[in-house]
Amino acid sequence: MPDSQAVFFWLLAALVIGSALAVVLLKNIVHSALYLFLTFVGVAGLYILLHAEFLAAVQLLIYAGAIAVLIVFAVMLVRRGDIRLSNLYSIHFLPALVVSLVLFALVAVAVGRQLWLGYLAPPPEEPLVSLARNFLGEYVIAFEVAAILLLSAIVGAVLIVRGRRRSAP
């Protein structure tokens, strides 16, 4: 009987792909948002399978928790007209479909023929410690830059959303 790993993988894969398709194909923007939430949860599950527990947690927290919710709020804010028809196809749907299929085919072929050269080794004992050592060791510049990035993003987002208050002369 296939071991538990494989079963979980196929379940989670089906969940992710199914809900992703739903996000794309449904006409109601709210349903899409909800299915997006489901996709993120599915992906978190996959991370767990890949021994990236911390990452799964972060995924759940930020993606599923923050981003999906944020999107739902945004959808509520810009609701106009009939919500059921709020997310129709654009004029380029068919060509987009073709392009994505061809792209998928290309990547699939590329990956299929690729003989991945890697080495077998046990995952590090405390993944969290090595993660932290990386963040503050090798990638400290990236870390700091990320901090500033978040700062400017927040400042910018608030600015733009606040819009023109009569306060400034």
Binding site: S90, I91, H92, P95, A96, V99, S100, V102, L103, L106
Partner: protein, 627 residues
């Protein structure tokens, strides 16, 4: 050449009038008297030096074979080209110097009277000085380059003087026509001596004279000779480039006298004489020269019969006489040609100046509107008749001896046809000259006509020229020992033995011409009218100068101008269209491509990803990845 005094000063002859030109043009322009004086003084001194030169040429026995030559290098390109500015003094140039300076001197004096009430008085004298300088320069030149140099300058002066009264449109047009026709001839002349240069690597006459006989390739030499001959055809108004001379009569009469009768038009004949070795060594070229000369003579003489304008008649007579000289060259007697040139210079200048004084008095040029002038203008009439007699070739006048020598030469050298033609021309010349005399001087007085004699300043030159027309001939008569033929000759001096038959026949023919003229025009009769009616076509043909002018105009306007218009159209539409077209295509493509930018964000994204996919497929295909 021990103690030559005058000849070393020969370079002053052209230089003095040359300096007079800027002097008058810029300094003494306002003072009319001073300008005239400067011009006359300049040409006078040149005349004196020319006389000195002639005297030393005779005294020191400088002959055609060993002339005196001074030359300095004007422009030198090592081993390739040496252009020198030099003087060649030999009997031929000495004679020409005398003729040119003398006639110019007399004409300038005459002009004081003729041009006195003309606003451009001093400018006229400036131009005359410039003409004198360039004509004398041409005569003294010792190489083809220098002759061409002054050849064109002389052409310029004739252009300026023909178009002197530029307020008259016809004068401007005549000047334009003269210059263009001369330019056409000069183009041929230039090519001619280019050919000589690439064969012999020199322009110098004496070096060429030494080299040409030894040269074997007759074909190329013939081409060169014919091309050089186009120069004289243009300058001496031979057929077919004669059309400009009759129109040149638009210029003031002293100009016609000096330039278009005596000197400049003779430059062509002078060139033939100077380059005679080139023609003499090519028999078939000589034939061409002879027949061109002959045909021009008869052709011009016939037209002269039907003309009404006094200056036009004299113009055609000049063309006819020039044809005589060229024929003389063609038949082999250079001496006869130059001798006729000299005598012709005097009596033709006389005729023009006399006609000038008639025009000056009556302000009228159409002979049928004049009559009976002999009563008021005694001196002009007498001098005119002397000139006419000399021109017609009545002994003992100068014209008779020189024309007789040409006819004798033609007869003796076996050109029987040309001899008969020459005699016929003599008859026609006599006829149209005395037709003119009987109508203007002896016909009945037109109403309201009052001629008055010209002032002495004009009549004195007439007198001098009349004397010359009478006695100039004795220099070269067959009877005088060591005459003209021993002085100016080609190859060897030769004594001319008299040929009574030719002399008698030509005199007889001239008298017949005069008689016919008297019979038709001397006494009142309607015969000329009836003749004109019966032979209407012939009269029209002659009156319209065989429609050659119209033919040339047709070529100029239809073919030449048409081609130019075609080029213009081609330039504006085809070539310009092509390049502007390229510009428009770029701009249009910019316009079209602009609309790719639809503004829709997803179009951009679609293009982005399609490009990625296309590149991936192309790179994969190129790299032979798939399949």
């Amino acid at each position: 050449m021990a103690n030559l005094y005058w000849i070393p000063k020969a370079w002053l002859i052209p230089l003095l009038p040359a300096l007079a030109f800027p002097f008058i043009a810029f300094i003494t322009r306002k003072a009319r008297g001073l300008s005239a004086l400067t011009a006359i003084l300049a040409i006078g001194v040149s005349l004196v030096i020319s006389l000195g030169v002639l005297w030393e040429v005779i005294a020191h026995g400088i002959t055609m074979d060993n002339p005196v030559e001074y030359s300095t290098v004007w422009l030198q390109i090592p081993q390739l080209l040496k252009i020198e500015a030099g003087l060649l003094i030999d009997p031929l140039s000495a004679v020409m110097l005398l003729v040119v300076t003398l006639v110019a001197f007399l004409v300038e004096i005459y002009s004081i009277g003729y041009m006195e009430d003309d606003p451009g008085f001093s400018v006229f004298f400036a131009y005359l000085s410039l003409f004198g300088a360039s004509m004398l320069g041409l005569v003294l030149a010792n190489n083809y380059f220098m002759i061409y140099f002054f050849w064109e300058l002389v052409g310029l002066c004739s252009y300026l003087l023909i178009g002197f009264w530029y307020h008259r449109a016809e004068a401007a047009r005549a000047g334009f026509k003269a210059f263009v026709v001369n330019r056409l001839a000069d183009f041929g002349f230039l090519l001619g001596f280019f050919f000589l240069f690439i064969i012999f690597h020199t322009f110098n006459f004496r070096e060429l004279a030494a080299a040409i006989p030894a040269y074997h390739n007759v074909g190329l030499l013939t081409v060169a000779a014919l091309l050089v001959f186009t120069g004289p055809i243009g300058k001496s108004a031979q057929f077919p480039l004669h059309v400009w001379l009759p129109d040149a009569m638009e210029g003031p009469t002293p100009v016609s006298a000096l330039i278009h009768a005596a000197t400049m038009v003779a430059a062509g004949v002078y060139l033939l004489a100077r380059a005679y070795v080139l023609f003499a060594s090519l028999p078939n070229v000589m034939l061409v020269v002879a027949y061109v000369g002959g045909f021009t003579a008869i052709f011009a003489a016939t037209i002269a019969i039907a003309q009404r304008d006094i200056k036009r008649i004299l113009a055609y007579s000049t063309i006819s006489q020039l044809g005589y000289m060229v024929m003389a060259m063609g038949v082999g007697s250079m001496t006869a040609g130059i001798f006729h040139l000299t005598t012709h210079a005097f009596f033709k200048a006389l005729l023009f100046l006399a006609a000038g004084s008639v025009i000056h008095a009556l302000h009228e040029q159409d002979i049928f509107r004049m009559g009976g002038l002999y009563k008021d203008m005694k001196v002009t009439t007498v001098t005119f008749i002397i000139g006419a007699l000399a021109l017609a070739g009545i002994p003992p006048f100068a014209g008779f001896w020189s024309k007789d020598e040409i006819l004798a030469a033609a007869y003796h050298n076996g050109f029987l046809g040309l001899y008969i033609l020459g005699t016929l021309v003599a008859f026609l010349t006599a006829f149209y000259m005395f037709r003119l005399i009987f109508i203007t001087f002896f016909g009945e007085r037109r109403a309201g006509l009052h001629g008055h004699e010209s002032p002495p300043v004009m009549t004195i030159p007439l007198g001098i020229l009349a004397l010359l027309s009478i006695f100039a001939g004795f220099v070269g008569t067959p009877f005088t020992a060591r005459g003209f033929s021993t002085f100016v000759y080609y190859a060897a001096p030769h004594e001319v033995e008299p040929d009574y038959m030719v002399m008698a026949l030509s005199t007889l023919v001239a008298l017949a011409g005069i008689a016919l003229a008297w019979w038709l025009y001397g006494r009142p009769s309607d015969l000329p009218e009836r003749l004109k009616e019966s032979y209407r076509w012939a009269y029209n043909l002659l009156w319209n100068k065989f429609y050659i002018d119209e033919f040339y105009l047709w070529i100029y306007r239809r073919i030449f101008w048409g081609l130019a218009e075609a080029f213009h159209w081609h330039d504006r539409h085809v070539v310009d269209g092509l390049w502007d077209g390229v510009g428009d295509v770029t701009r249009a493509s910019g316009q079209k491509l602009r609309y790719l930018q639809t503004g829709n964000l997803q179009t951009y994204a679609l293009v982005f990803f399609t490009a990625v996919v296309v590149i991936a497929l192309w790179m994969a295909g190129m790299g032979g990845m798939i399949r």
